[in-house]
């Protein structure tokens, strides 16, 4: 009998530490090689660490919510046939040449569910007629879902997962009894990251919000036309790609809005590139995947890239690169509507745009009431570096483009 110390392996991409999300094992458990032992959350992704060996667990270090450094001992196994006790020093930067038992550590695997396969360019959607029917009736475009079935086939459960992610509010039960229970939910993992980021944004940035209505009747016509005439490999256009394209033009006219305020260094970085963060609700929580260099994309390309990064975020497949580098953020409240919102700026950016649903609304034009399709926009700005005038002007410029959609493409 001997002991093996297992250190948190290098999870890749420059990650130096991770937070323990959950232990799948307890001390004194007997495990087999490749059994999951713990989930570790890094900056962006949750990684399940499998057991490197068969053996009994003598000791585990750290509780859920605590941080573990790469190279830190996280678990000690008692292993049959292993040489006598091997205690090694904490591994810091360089690898020590000690007599540490070199046991090949299996590559960590991300998540445990069957992974949806990302469809290639030009690849047709594969789904049975019953799944297609259900999707149509739920208003879901199957092209936006990746299938986890054999060969990338979209299954009923893929569809259900997608639907659940889209409408997370559960219906209230019929019974009306007084309740007294309190559920304690530890704020760890992604939720803690979101909490930290929000506190930082809200406590350091002097927010002001500005709202406007936009008449998108003409834009809707153009959108429907483009969708009706699109080719098979072109994605269905929502309003967002148009807003992204219009923002490219508006932000170039108001470069002070496409910036980072590095408050500690007391300087503002204005960007030429327009990298738009797309706030995306996933079943794990809020992610902000980024569509990079929208200024170099046409509407179809930006639509496609937006679908790619947001589904990657939803499927837990987003890479580090997909999740960083935004210069401005859009948060779409489309499906839910709402009169207005005061979105919180994604620090260190200086502005954020909230997009509400478009709906037919009576509007007075030349003394007559007409039915127009009206969309509300909410925006927030960092008043420390963006003056009220500038924030409002950006929104007015954007409105102008959206109300005269041809000008977006000129």
């Amino acid at each position: 009998m001997g002991e093996i110390e297992f250190r948190l392996p290098d999870i890749g991409e420059g990650v130096v530490e991770g937070e323990i999300v959950i232990w799948h094992v307890n001390e004194a458990d007997v495990v087999k090689e490749d059994d999951p032992i713990l989930d570790v959350m890094t900056d962006k992704a949750t990684v399940t660490i499998p057991s490197p060996t068969d053996g009994k667990i003598i000791k585990i270090n750290g509780k859920a919510g605590e941080m573990l450094k790469v190279g830190q001992v996280c678990i000690v196994f008692e292993v049959e046939g292993a040489p006598s006790i091997e205690k090694t020093e904490e591994v810091k930067e360089e690898k020590s040449e000690s007599q540490e038992i070199k046991k090949e550590i299996p590559k960590p695997q991300i998540a445990t569910k069957p992974q949806p396969q990302v469809r290639k360019k030009g690849e047709r959607v594969m789904a049975s007629p019953a799944v297609r029917k259900k999707a149509r009736e739920s208003g879901i475009d199957l092209a936006s879902i990746n299938g986890s079935g054999p060969g990338g086939r979209i299954t009923h459960s893929d569809l259900d997962t997608w639907k659940e992610a889209g409408s997370p509010v559960a219906a209230a039960g019929p019974a009306r009894t007084a309740l007294s229970g309190i559920k304690e939910i530890p704020v760890i993992g992604l939720r803690r990251k979101i909490a930290e980021q929000m506190s930082k944004s809200y406590s350091t940035i002097a927010h002001f919000s500005y709202f406007e209505e936009v008449d998108v009747t003409n834009l809707e016509k153009l959108r429907v036309h483009l969708n009706d005439n699109r080719s098979e490999n072109q994605p269905k256009l929502t309003y967002l790609p148009f807003i992204m394209q219009a923002l490219v033009k508006a932000l170039s006219e108001h470069p002070q809005c496409n910036a980072h305020y590095m408050d500690e260094d007391e300087k503002v970085l204005q960007f030429e590139a327009i990298n738009l963060g797309i706030a995306t609700q996933t079943d794990k929580g809020l992610f902000v995947p980024v569509v990079k260099n929208v200024e170099a994309q046409d509407i179809w390309e930006s639509a496609k890239e937006m679908i790619r990064v947001s589904s990657a975020a939803r499927d837990g497949k987003a890479t580090m690169d997909d999740l960083q580098g935004s210069t401005f953020t859009i948060t779409s409240l489309g499906r839910m509507g709402g009169l207005g919102a005061t979105p919180i700026i994604n620090h260190p950016e200086v502005g954020i745009l909230g997009v509400h649903n478009a709906k037919e609304t009576p509007v007075v034009i030349d003394g007559r009431i007409e039915i127009r399709r009206i969309m509300r926009l909410s925006s927030s700005w960092d008043h420390r570096v963006v003056d009220g005038w500038d924030g409002a002007m950006l929104v007015q410029t954007l409105k102008n483009f959206l109300e005269h959609p041809a000008t977006i493409f000129m």
């Binding site: 290639k120 360019k121 030009g122 690849e123 047709r124 594969m126 789904a127 049975s128 007629p129 297609r132 029917k133 149509r136 009736e137 208003g139 079935g149 054999p150 060969g151 990338g152 086939r153 009706d228």
Partner: protein, 477 residues
């Protein structure tokens, strides 16, 4: 004038229209269907069904002849040759047609659909006048489903008459032509040409392209071409009909051959099967303000909606896919459901195509060329597997292998998704259902490989073709 009002008005009681009307009635909508001839349309009355009846009878007659030959066949010998009475054959076929026609009328009635006889003439998009022997009826509807169907294309220089006949006339012949010349070697011409050959006519086919059945790939049509050759049906490819004239024994058809030389043939009848065109020129459709393309097909979207609100077009008259009965029926059912508020779209993975020649051909999904291109865009390769009917026990017992038939499968190399299934051989048409199901369900090769296929059936040949695509067919070395 009597005026009727309804929620759904269907024009044409063919396989598109009557299905639309029945479904509409089932969904509780007040429905009227207008038909100028008999309920059943081209499919039941003068197309698919009667031609299959004649083809079946022709095969029966032909095999009886084998049994009355010198030594008989399979140990069965008839003492004297079988005799054909074409008139009786046609009336046997009419009995089948009558039965189906009555069946459709019964189904319409059971679904509480009103069948109005007569030809509809639209005066605006939602109103038509139907003229019949009892006078005119005006019908106003909330929704109009145009299922007007199609008619055979006539060659302007040789219009239809007693000698130059359409596919419809070919199903009503009183006398067997000694020499039948078929202009157009597509599926209709070949099905009827082969049937008349089996009944005893001499048959010649004149085709403009460089082969018959040009929509299928070479490998797939090869067994049919061999059958034509073996059974002495002469085929002139790259040849163009130029006109007919009276001759002393009947008529003479002039044509240019593949070298461009003018030739002529004596014939009793000339059957022209150069295609069908949408029936969109009568019925006052031009008054409805709906858009058509140059060929006269009504333009529709994936829901079969025309540019005019609440006017729909399905089947052969619509620009919505192949001119096939099963497309029309599917669309008919769909449109009725859309009107009733269901969310539907015409989105099949594949539309099966079947040709009832001897041997029969089925093609479902992509052709090998399409499959290859699709795989190239995805950066993968196309797998192909083939299994000959000659190695399938059931086929041997049915003499279905004699024509060199096979089942062929194409699939993606990277994920083994089946992209197309093709078969040629006697009696293979009944296999098509499984082929379509596999494609609609998005089956992988392994899905079919893991499905037990009953022995002894021809469907085992499909299983084996799948195994061959995976590289391990059992009954072939």
């Amino acid at each position: 004038m009597e005026t009727k009002r309804c929620k759904v008005l269907v024009i044409g009681a063919g396989p598109g229209g009557y299905v639309a009307a029945i479904r509409s009635g089932q969904l509780g909508m007040d429905t009227i269907i207008v038909e100028g001839e008999r309920a059943g349309g081209t499919c039941l009355i003068r197309g698919c069904i009667p031609s299959k009846a004649i083809i079946h009878a022709a095969h029966k007659f032909h095999s009886l002849q084998k049994h009355s030959a010198d030594k008989g066949h399979m140990g069965i010998k008839l003492p004297s040759p079988a005799e054909l009475n074409l008139k009786d054959l046609i009336s046997w076929k009419e009995d089948i047609v009558d039965k189906l026609n009555k069946g459709v009328e019964g189904l319409l009635k059971a679904a509480k659909v009103t069948l109005v006889s007569g030809w509809a003439k639209f005066i605006d998009a939602k109103t038509c006048i139907v003229t019949n022997s009892n006078g005119d009826i005006r019908i106003e509807a909330e929704h109009v489903i145009l299922a007007n169907g199609s008619i055979p294309i006539e060659l302007p220089f040789m219009p239809f008459n007693d000698d130059v006949i359409s596919s419809r006339d070919a199903l009503e012949l009183k006398e067997l032509p000694k020499h039948l010349v078929v202009v157009g070697g597509g599926y209709i011409g070949l099905e009827l040409g082969i049937a008349y050959k089996l009944l005893g006519s001499e048959v010649t086919i004149i085709e403009a392209m460089d082969s018959v059945l040009p929509i299928f790939d070479k490998e797939l049509r090869r067994p049919v071409e061999l059958y034509l050759k073996k059974n002495k049906i002469s085929v002139h490819t790259k040849s163009f009909a130029k006109g007919v004239e009276k001759s002393k024994n009947g008529i003479k058809i002039n044509y240019t051959d593949s070298k461009g030389e003018l030739k002529s043939l004596e014939a009793d009848k000339v059957l022209v099967t150069v295609g069908r065109k949408p029936r969109s020129k009568d019925s006052g459709i031009e008054k409805m303000g709906i858009k058509m393309n140059e060929q006269g097909f009504i333009l529709v979207d994936k829901k079969c909606a025309t540019n005019m609100r609440n006017v729909w077009a399905i089947g052969d008259v619509a620009d919505s896919g192949e001119m096939l009965a099963h497309v029309a029926s599917n669309q008919g059912e769909m449109v009725a459901e859309i009107i009733a508020g269901h969310i539907r779209e015409f989105d099949p993975v594949s539309v099966p195509a079947i040709v009832f020649t001897e041997p029969e051909i089925i093609s479902v999904g992509m052709s090998p060329d399409e499959g290859k291109k699709y795989c190239e865009t995805l950066g993968t390769k196309l797998l192909t597997g083939k299994f000959p009917l000659a190695a399938n026990g059931r086929s041997l017992t049915m003499e279905a292998e004699k024509t060199g038939g096979f089942v062929r499968v194409i699939a993606r190399e990277d994920n083994h998704q089946i992209l197309g299934i093709h078969a040629v051989g006697s009696s293979v048409s009944e296999l098509s259902g499984e082929f379509s199901l596999a494609l609609e369900m998005g089956a992988l090769l392994e899905d079919v490989a893991g499905t037990i296929h009953a022995h002894p059936t021809m469907s085992e040949a499909f299983h084996e073709a799948i195994l061959a695509t995976l590289g391990h067919a059992i009954h072939i070395s």
